[in-house]
């Protein structure tokens, strides 16, 4: 069981690097969507006996992270009619190296922290920290609004991975609330992006510089 789980988490960690290396927006959106779907399957692997609530959360996660949000982002991309190139503030090679270093560091850190017996040997903690760092790198190191949203999604994916450690004990109500909040957040982000596009005729956040000391 742990082996299958680790395989999927490893896949998600690989997708971090794909997202960091993407030089075009559609491929970055695809990486974030795929990662969301991989994470959606995980609750089913962790729970030994099938519960309908867990199934519901899994289906909801796959639908929202894998289809709804990427669809919204692709629509924004089409409507904004911007060029698809990602403008990196931190170059691709440095961000890949940083991402890889974060993955190695996260595995080491995950080994050092005390875990419950049932999580021993799983990559959940390591995968979570590596994904959070990758999300931060995308948030800070890419200048277009859509790539920042992808970074935010990947950051949330990392937190979701950590949340799986608690899936046995916390009520799923809270997780449902979290999913809802995330969806609303992306909606709001989408609307603001739309307005920024109309107002500034760009989604390059480097151009948002009128507010400063």
């Amino acid at each position: 069981m742990t082996n299958t789980l680790n395989l999927f988490i490893g896949l998600a960690m690989g997708l971090n690097l794909v997202a960091l290396a993407s030089s075009r927006l559609p491929s970055m959106i695809r990486a974030a969507a795929l990662q969301g779907m991989v994470l959606g399957i995980l609750p089913l692997l962790i729970e030994h006996d099938f519960q309908w609530m867990v199934g519901l959360v899994a289906v909801g996660t796959i639908a929202v992270k894998g289809f709804v949000i990427p669809h919204l982002l692709r629509r924004a991309l089409r409507a904004a009619n911007i060029d698809r190139e990602v403008k990196p503030l931190i170059g691709f090679v440095p961000s890949l190296l940083l991402g890889a270093a974060a993955a190695v560091g996260a595995v080491a850190l995950g080994g050092a922290l005390p875990l419950l017996p049932e999580h021993a040997g799983s990559l959940l903690v390591a995968g979570s920290f590596a994904t959070v760092v990758a999300g931060f790198l995308l948030l800070m190191g890419r200048s277009k609004a859509i790539s920042q949203v992808c970074g935010y999604l990947i950051l949330e994916n990392g937190i979701y991975l950590f949340g799986l450690l608690l899936i046995r004990s916390t009520p799923l109500l809270v997780e449902a609330g979290i999913l809802l909040d995330l969806t609303v957040a992306v909606f709001v982000i989408g609307i603001i992006m739309d307005r920024i596009q109309k107002e500034f005729d760009t989604l390059d956040t480097n151009k948002l510089t009128s507010l400063r000391e």
Binding site: Y152, L166, S169, V174, D181, I192, E199, F200, L208, E213
Partner: protein
Amino acid sequence: MKELALIAVPWLAAIAAFLWSSERTRPRLLPVAGGLHAVLSLWLLADPPTLSPSAWFGFDPLARAVLPMVSLLFLVCSIYGVAYLKVRAERPNRLFVFALLVLLGCLSLALQAQHLGLLWVAAEAATLMTVPLVHFNGTARAFEASWKYLLVGGTGIALSLLGSFCLGYASLNAGGNGDLTFSALAGQFVHLPVEVAAKSGPWVIAAWVLLLAGYGTKMGLAPMHTWKPDAYGEAPGMVGALLAGGITTMAFIAVLRVKQVVDAAGGGDMTQRTLLAIGLFSMLVAALFLLGTPDFKRMLAYSSVEHMGILAVGAALGGLGVWAALFHVWTNNLTKGSLFLSAGNIRRAANARSQNEVSGMAWRSPLSARIFIAGLFAITACPPFGPFFSELLILRAAFTTGSTFTAVAFLGCLLFAFFGMTRLVFAIVDGRPRAAARATGSRFRETSGVILPPLALLGCSVWLGLATPSWLSESWSAAAKLLFPTP
């Protein structure tokens, strides 16, 4: 039941506002809901309900110590809002009124939340609801501010979620059953055997760091304060007042609740040191920016960063410090509300916001300018206003706990902030009105609707300072006792 109504009343009013068809009469829903909310919260303040220990939410001593302030501030701002939205009749107000009311419900929920997850969900919802409020003006600058607010605020809230998970995992490692209410968490970490504490300890530390960073971003503690000047500078004055008085209070209470759990787990020294360091750093950063900023609405944002620093320092100084910090939550937020509302008037009358474009406001908008100056002296802790007494108490707490360095640094930052703020305020109030401002013709009329609300808040500030009601100080004592059972 009444504590549920505190959440239900604003949300029902929000639905009504959304369905309301008349742009002209819709804003009147704000004072109606705000008035009901204030009555309910004052009733609960006078007659606190008993709280069942396993409840997910309830009107506990901490909620009792601050929720009536948020309610009062909202009521005054909503009365101002009716007059303000009449002046801004050219902007559609459906989303604005709706978001304000939902925000009030979310704040009531977050302040009363006794459950780690519920607190996070409510705090996140409150943050999202303020985004449409920040870009009400619909200008390019407002969208830029909203975008930065969303990114920084979103990242902060993500970090606090990760921190909440870490705290939950720490409780599982300590043999918990997954009950994430604050009282259960705190009870569980007390008197752990050494080998169990070694398994949960690292997670508690990680949780504190992440939660302080996350909710500290909401509070606007430096260096996570970067969203504040943009959002406060671009949002309408009344939204600034509610952001500075509502959202930051919610985040401060969240930090206090988490601190209570981490203290129970034996991290008391760590929480005190980190809060003290981040608080003094915020005060220093704010004081330095206050010396330089040319924009009087951004000045209020840096002043807010400074006062969040004061709250963090107060929370680090033990029982007396927490008592003074809760007192300061009231005095600072009511005074700040008056400053934001009068600054909104001045901004409207001058049609500009920076020192280079605005002067002579004592002639252009005499009443607002006078309230603004009185508010300036109040917020920089001059007697007889409330902030003087609350800051004096924090200073006393610093001396009684023997941290003379804290007291000296605290006073130094206050002095710099005073220089910075008086410099800017007198530059815009004194002098002759600019030719450009005189030429615009149509004068901003200082009607009673936009003058009485800031004046009322200023009056509250004096009242709290000179005659702190015993029922209020008793509620702060109860909250401080909850956090520090043995003073």
